[in-house]
Amino acid sequence: MSASLPTIHFTVNGKECAVQAPPMKRLLDVLREDLHLTGTKEGCGEGECGSCSVRMNGELVNSCLVPVLQSEGAEIQTVEGLASNGKLHPVQQAFLDCGGAQCGICTPGMLMAAVQLIEHNPHPSMAEIREGLAGNLCRCTGFMRIFESVLAVATSAGEPVLEKVDHAR
């Protein structure tokens, strides 16, 4: 059957990819199995928990609900694409600084949802943070440290958070 599979082209974290896959294969599985980008996690597999959140053409999506054919030509960003030039994204750094991650399963999805929020609304209120992350479930932190991480980025505009890393090193 694989001989007749279509080739789907898209960009992942700025890199062009061509993947042969059944069109109904979930984007989540293509990322993890075909492209070995295992940062994106599967939680519920039905769009409820947000673990598989990635950004597709600038919008936050649950990659477990995207048939890969619908990502033809799309620009995808996964958690692996957040850091650049060896520097963590300010949201990632804030999660480290504020204890926003514990077991880590929800963290990639939380980060993607937080980045999506901050890019559209650089200074969200606590209520807006809660809404922006409402589709991402965490069973460890009780959410407060996650919200505080995002709030730290929102109030610091990113820069001081990055400086703090340098001191730590």
Partner: protein, 292 residues
Amino acid sequence: MRGNPHSHELIAPGSLPAVLDLLASAPGEWTPIAGGTELMVAFAAGRLSARKLVSLWGIPDLRFIQSTPESFVIGASTTFLDLRAHVSLAAELPLIAKSSSWIGSVANQSRATIGGNLVNGSPAADSSPALLVYDAEIEMVSQRGRRRVPYREFHTGYKRNVLAADELLFAIHLPRRFAHHRQYLRKVGTRRAMAISKVALAATALLEGNIVREIRLAAASLAPYPARLYKTETALLGQRLTKETAQAALRALLAEAQPIDDIRSTAEYRRRVGANLLQEFLLELSREGAPK
């Protein structure tokens, strides 16, 4: 059992005429899929019976919001985030943005489409009550042409609607004559986000002094499909808004509602809370007096 991607066909013809060609060539054989927030859940669980799917995602002819002096026209593949972001729509018909904000999470709203919500036809559909009280019209398209029906006639039974096998829901027309109506919408679910309604109520009303001149009421999960509450409306229409009128309306709602017991709630709870929502709306109406 999990869904197997090899056992489902999915094609993306890429344009509206090409999709309509396909549907006309084999009516009923292809199932349209837009943002996948419903069908991909069924697929993952291994209970997607449709084997041949045609993608509507990324077809620009289906994703638009136009405004004319008389109406807003919303393409079927418009997402709920698109709807929330539209400034004049949100200002004039605020129940649309409000119900759009109820759809799951941001990651669901970026993919879920208003057409998909209506064609899926859940009795609990978030967008339906608002569309019903705004007198929406549904425009459908096939190779045979276009036709329009009032949205209140679109659903014909549990998960059934008037679409023919070769037809697509094309657009939703919203008349721009509710800006001065009193508008109400409330959903009761298990939590504030990501929850499917236990019950929801929408209302638009026009008062003249204390007399109800226009009233539209619609509910989620009080019937096998999203529906107006005509008998409750009748109890209010043309009446002076008194305690007695309100009592009559509540009795009408309790008699008219046909909720069910299911995993999310019970029929009894839905009936009572549905009546409470109506009571809240009527209290708001009488407290605030005549509309602006």
